[in-house]
């Protein structure tokens, strides 16, 4: 079954986008990447640590030619900061994709919808492939789609919280109305959360903390891959509706009494 996901002309077989943050060490990160089958990985952009010039950077550790690199604008609190960070990320020469995050509040890490829309419009005009991180707001999702974003990325629950699909109902609405891929991003804690997102019709999931901070990241990465595959197949297979009453699975006639 050829069920490829296409974003900005790039065909992807894996619907698991994996984050590179919060791993205990590079060995665990590499093992998780291998087990996940992920083709898209997110990275952040930060000042180089000049105190130790021989220290390896992330780019020294990963075979970045194997992946589609999705730089994020994590840490940016305003549209201006996010645009600047995206431009610097593009100047790295590896990707013109950007996971747009405009997050003013450090406690819940919720995105600023107005700053996100403003930054998205500017970045689309500058030729970026924009994947905006948003709350579960169907109206905002439509505005970002109309502004030319390549996807919309509603959060399931706060970043790193592992709460799962708290925003289930509104994400359903976003999926119903979207004509671009909907990628559920943030808050996934277990494969069942990712499977649920995919069963609703999401096109992919972004997962970081749930894998990086699992007791066994490689095994969890494999589990997430399987959960996403299962959820996607279930969506394509067409599930039965939920009913309030029972419906017998065995024939009613010929019962021995």
């Amino acid at each position: 079954m050829d069920d490829r996901l296409v974003i900005a002309g790039k065909e992807l077989r894996s619907r698991l986008f994996l984050g590179t943050g919060k791993y205990r060490n590079y060995e665990e990160m590499h093992a998780a990447f291998e087990a996940s089958g992920a083709e898209v990985i997110t990275v952040a952009l930060r000042r180089l640590d000049l105190s130790d010039p021989n220290k390896k950077t992330l780019l020294d550790e990963i075979d970045w030619g194997r992946y589609t690199i999705l730089p994020n604008t994590a840490g940016c609190r305003t549209a201006d900061e996010a645009v600047r960070t995206a431009q610097l990320a593009r100047a790295m020469g590896l990707s013109n994709w950007v996971k747009l995050e405009v997050i003013p509040d450090a406690k819940y890490l919720l995105p600023d919808p107005i700053g996100t829309l403003e930054a998205a419009k500017r970045l689309v005009a500058e030729g970026f492939v924009v994947l905006p991180y948003i709350n579960d707001d169907p109206v905002l999702a439509k505005q970002l789609e109309e502004a030319g974003c390549a996807t919309v990325m509603p959060l399931a629950s706060p970043i790193g919280s592992g709460q799962g699909m708290v925003h289930f109902e509104q994400i359903k609405i976003i999926i119903e109305q979207a004509r671009v891929p909907v990628v559920v991003d943030a808050g996934i804690g277990a494969p069942s959360d990712a499977a649920l997102a995919m069963e609703l019709g999401a096109s992919a999931c972004v997962i970081n903390t749930a894998v990086a901070q699992a007791q066994n990241p490689a095994l969890m990465a494999e589990a997430m891959r399987l959960g996403i595959e299962a959820g996607r197949k279930a969506f394509l297979a067409g599930r039965i509706p939920k009913k309030a009453y029972a419906s017998a699975s065995s024939p009613l006639e010929g019962v021995v009494r």
Partner: protein
């Protein structure tokens, strides 16, 4: 002769007339692994060898790190 610039948020002394490329080399930085912004303008890699530093310049040298 040394002049002072701000490099990644900290005041640093650099050789007068040094280019960005020379500064990166002197700090052991691989130019292919970074992006550089000089006084809020992002430099193309081809410009590192010709962009000369002046007193008071603000330089940001950034790279990709792990993140979600």
């Amino acid at each position: 002769m040394a002049l002072h610039i701000t490099l990644n948020g900290r005041s640093e002394a650099v050789e007068d007339g040094a280019t960005v490329a020379e500064l990166l080399l002197s700090r052991g930085v691989n130019p292919a692994r970074v992006a550089v912004e000089l006084n809020r303008r992002i430099l193309r890699r081809e410009e590192y060898a010709t962009a000369r530093l002046s007193a008071g310049d603000v330089l940001e040298v950034v790279t990709f790190v792990g993140g979600g």
